[in-house]
Symmetry: C2
Subunit: 238 residues, 2 copies
Amino acid sequence: MGRGRAVVSLTVDLVIFTVRAEQLQVLLVERGNEPFRGQLALPGGYLRGAETLEEAAVRELWEETQLDGARLHLEQLRTYSDPRRDPRGRVVTTAYLALGADLPTPSAGTDAKEASWMPVRDVLEEGFLAFDHGVILRDGLERARAKLEYTSIATVFCSEPFTIGELRRVYEVIWGIPLDPSNFRRKLTRAEGFLEPTGKFRTSTVGRPAALYSRGSAPLLMPPFLRAQENSLPSAGT
Amino acid sequence: MGRGRAVVSLTVDLVIFTVRAEQLQVLLVERGNEPFRGQLALPGGYLRGAETLEEAAVRELWEETQLDGARLHLEQLRTYSDPRRDPRGRVVTTAYLALGADLPTPSAGTDAKEASWMPVRDVLEEGFLAFDHGVILRDGLERARAKLEYTSIATVFCSEPFTIGELRRVYEVIWGIPLDPSNFRRKLTRAEGFLEPTGKFRTSTVGRPAALYSRGSAPLLMPPFLRAQENSLPSAGT
DNA sequence: CCCCTAAAGGTCGTATTGACTTTAAGTCGC
DNA sequence: GCGACTTAAAGTCAATACGACCTTTAGGGG
């Protein structure tokens, strides 16, 4: 070993985020096989013959969680290549980040694995994930947090039409900090192409009816919405 | 094909940028073998047995260009996996972005390939690179441009100590737009931890002597320095 | 019909920015 | 030695963006 071309397997792992019950949640599966049998892991699987990594990610999304890739935001996160990351041998994995609006509880899928939503904060604070999936999850969270600042991905966490309050809760939950409702609305309503007013309103159980919006055409939030500062865990909370 | 686990080779490709002669330049090699023999390509090579992709990147950096990875900024760019990207078969590549200060003209290295600096603008406008390296180069340029906005990587293009004028030229060359010298200095000198004054000055052939700075400790530029707008090619030029 | 709540909208002082001007400190040509 | 020239450094000023905070609006519930 060391000199020749490495013999490697390539896998795809998915960091799937959604906001439900006022929390950022990640979809995890319980492993049915060794290694790490019984432990929680990111859903994923091997790259097949003639597909791209992105196609493999969409396929795994469906096979393992019955989620439709077309309804999610999907982007490549990073490739992890530590030779010791998988005890079975040389497995390099490319992680993808998938974001969606209030996704359904996954029916187990064709694979017999148990899939369930878990609060990201709990997983990062207490849980231990298989392989290096804890690191991957952390990287995914940081990517999502950063992209809230300068892109319009926050809207993919809301099903259309949505209110500004719902959108604000997305930011608060992912950044783990409270935001001033008034300044938040001023900021986002003035961002060109971010929100598309529908002219309709939604009356909830309490409070004044909120205007409903759909996603605007701009992929970037200009000027960006900067966090006050870094917050390494989702709101901490001892 | 299609059903089973893909049999893939993994390679590393390098997008190496430096600023020389008032231009952003990229290091390219002329391919000595088929496919694409004689054409320009990014330097790179196969992943070996027990190394990470990052270690492979550093190794290739040295073998192909005699550049020392420790003296460069190196970060993972993206993984490219189109099954048809390499006519020889299934080759997935992870691209790394390497940035350095006025790097030397590479001696060909142990590999017998001809390595040389080329202006990025020219390559993107006229040149055709092997494989999908044109796409990778474009992605690398966009990454570098974006990171100038909110990190302090611009300083790695300058050898220490450097003047604010030199730093400004880095921004101008990579973004392809002129910047107001006065506002530029105000912005960067007030960014906490970005520049470390040395107290020394450099007298050039013309003009008032410029204060010399070294890199500060802050990895991020806060608040960010936003480009006026997108500029898909490096200053265009007709 | 009053209270409570959240949405919507406004105020105000401060910080940041872009466009521009002024002053400083060197070299070069004569 | 001196003025022209060049770039660095510093300042001005109006427009904008932002954080903190307040007021008004429009529903539901008791």
